[in-house]
Amino acid sequence: MKRTATVSLLALALALGALPAAAADTIVFGAAVSLTGKTAKEGEYTRDGYNFFVDKINEMGGITVGGKKYRVEVKYYDDESKSERTAQLIEKLINEDKVTFILGPYGSAPSGTAAPICEKYKIPMIEANGSAESIFNKGYKYTFAVLSPAKLYLKGLVDLVIARDKTAKTVAVLGENEPFSKEVASGGADYAKEKGLTVVYQELYPTGTQDVSALLTNIKAKNPDIVLGAGHLQDALLIVKQAKDLGVSPKAMGFSVGPSSPEFRENLKGNADYIYGATQWTEALKYNGDDPWKTPKAYGDAFRAKNPKYTVIPYQVAESSAAVIAFWRAIEKANSLDPTKVRDAIAALDIMTFYGQIKFDSRGINIYKPMAIEQLQPDGKKYTVFPANVAEKEALYPMVPWDKRK
């Protein structure tokens, strides 16, 4: 009896204390992410990454501005994977919900439509999932990206192959016809040429394609040493499936997006072996940052403890958390909630985190953090194989041809 009374009193006290605080001393971030549609999965990763760090800030007492602690909340909308919808929702977040800070959507196309809206209202946006440089070449002052730019995605795989095999000479590149993947594809092709390789095939396929047999037939005839794919998860799965169908067996096959997510192996089973994937971040990287977790491993363990449905942590989750870290550090440094002052603090940011260095060039993109390469290996696991100084394991090269596998 007595115990119940104490508990209810305590609850009452907490409720009374919490109510006014939630109303006045809360910083609300706005975000429009794709929770349905083509990139629903990646949108979910984005949201979970944001929420994880937002919860952590609240656990630690909040963001300190002018000696006062502010709790943090995120107001979400679903942009249905449609970038024109993203723009409308960002406008709604700013005008109707009166948010003063925006966390980016998932993907380059929606980030690209969100950026001019943020610019118009002078509201800073830190995004974690749009790395097409086309967003950053327009002179926007209020849009920042914590991730490495698109053109660097496939560079590592070219370097890896060159280091392993002096006889590798030819590359085929196929990419999805949308801003981010186009830049990944041309960035990869340009880098291969720069390194003395010959690009024997370079084509784009339409978004949402359901058949790439025509492209792969063409590629097979050219018999390239390396096949680079620049698209999204669904495309990567389709390309591997049809490459096996048609017997396309290069020495190395890698994708900008896809292999890093657990669904890659779930869908392809053993056919996922030897495939490389570019990644912004893995748990195996040896960073030592100045944030609540410091190392990628500690971050991964903490995230899994809170989100048990994840066995592997996709990089989209980590970079989304990193975007919140950047806001957190910038707001505390600006010591103000004024959007323009926070914008200036973001532009001047230079911090080391579990995600790697976060620093923006004059266009607002993080060119200071390198991309890593992972490989799915026949033991059923995925290893970080590049860059060499942070690699867990040596890459298995060349890929065993489809018809030589058991």
């Binding site: 999965k41 979910e44 784009l204 396929y205 339409p206 058949d211 790439v212 025509a214 037939t217 489809w402």
Partner: protein
């Protein structure tokens, strides 16, 4: 382009035609007989894909063996939807059935999303990706099997519509509703059978697609679009027209894709537009 490459592209197009014919078959039947453009067709396809996926994943049923079950489930669902919902608005203006099937598609897709999440899935069997080689042309077993299943179902439906009593009643209803009614055809029942068969065919198409493309709850939309394009290309009113429409679609898609992949969709739909201007009844359709 070498001869081997050309042969491979030709084979790719033939294999794709078969699957696309099955994708469009039910859609064409429902449209042709009942004048309903069933926007939920793609959602039925996705349901078929999920049935095959879960039977394979949980009970290790071979994906080809699960096709009859997927068809049966979708047939029953289609019957229920027609009896319970569409028959209520069938006499209303075309827009009403449009809205109804559009709503159904949203409902089904969102329910799948809710229960099974937006994860991408594929049915991967030990024989996935294996095949045989004819000269320099590779023929994957699954795609060949899918072509076989499609042909059997297309031929089966053609036979059914031509040679059975219900089949003839379905065709009669499509030709002249009032005359069919006067000769004692129970239109409500015929409509339910037609819609159920359409849904069943979509289920089979979904089963096959689950082995061929990675899918998620949102896959259906693009296949409704394709089915629509194929019906316009081939024309309505005949099973053979669907096959012709699917073949044109597949050949254009694959051959343009082989040279100008980034334009393949634009070219396919440009042909569609030109055709609509020149031959509004479709390539094989009879002029009114």
């Amino acid at each position: 382009m070498s001869l081997g490459e050309l042969g491979q592209i030709f084979v790719n197009a033939v294999l794709l035609s078969g699957i696309l014919a099955l994708v469009a078959l039910g859609f064409s039947l429902v449209w042709g007989i009942m004048n309903i453009v069933n926007l939920a067709h793609g959602a039925f396809i996705v349901l078929g894909a999920y049935i095959t996926f879960f039977l394979h994943e949980l009970l290790h049923v071979d994906p080809f063996l699960s096709i009859p079950l997927a068809m049966l489930v979708l047939f029953t669902l289609g019957w229920g939807i027609q009896r319970g919902l569409i028959n209520q608005v069938i006499k209303a203006p075309l827009l009403a059935t449009f809205l109804l099937t559009f709503g159904l598609e949203l409902l089904i897709v969102n329910l799948i999303n809710f229960f099974f999440k937006a994860d991408l899935r594929s049915v991967t069997t030990p024989y996935s990706g294996t095949g045989f080689t004819l000269g320099s042309v590779r023929i994957p077993y699954i795609r060949l099997g899918a072509l076989g299943v499609s042909l059997v179902l297309v031929a089966g439906l053609a036979w059914y519509l031509k040679s059975t009593r219900t089949g003839r009643a379905i065709r009669a209803t499509g030709m002249d509703l009032d005359a069919a009614r006067l000769t004692g055809v129970k239109v409500a029942a015929v409509y339910a059978s037609t819609f159920a068969i359409g849904a069943g065919m979509a289920g089979a198409a979904g089963s096959l697609l689950s082995m061929i493309v990675p899918f998620d709850p949102n896959l259906g939309g693009t296949y409704t679009q394709r089915a629509f394009a194929i019906c316009v290309l081939g024309g309505l009113g005949n099973v053979a027209n669907v096959v012709i429409g699917a073949a044109i679609y597949a050949f254009v898609d694959v051959f343009v894709g082989a040279r100008l992949p980034s334009l393949s969709r634009a070219v396919t739909f440009a042909i569609l537009v030109i055709l609509l201007i020149l031959r509004p009844q479709g390539i094989a359709g009879k002029s009114a």
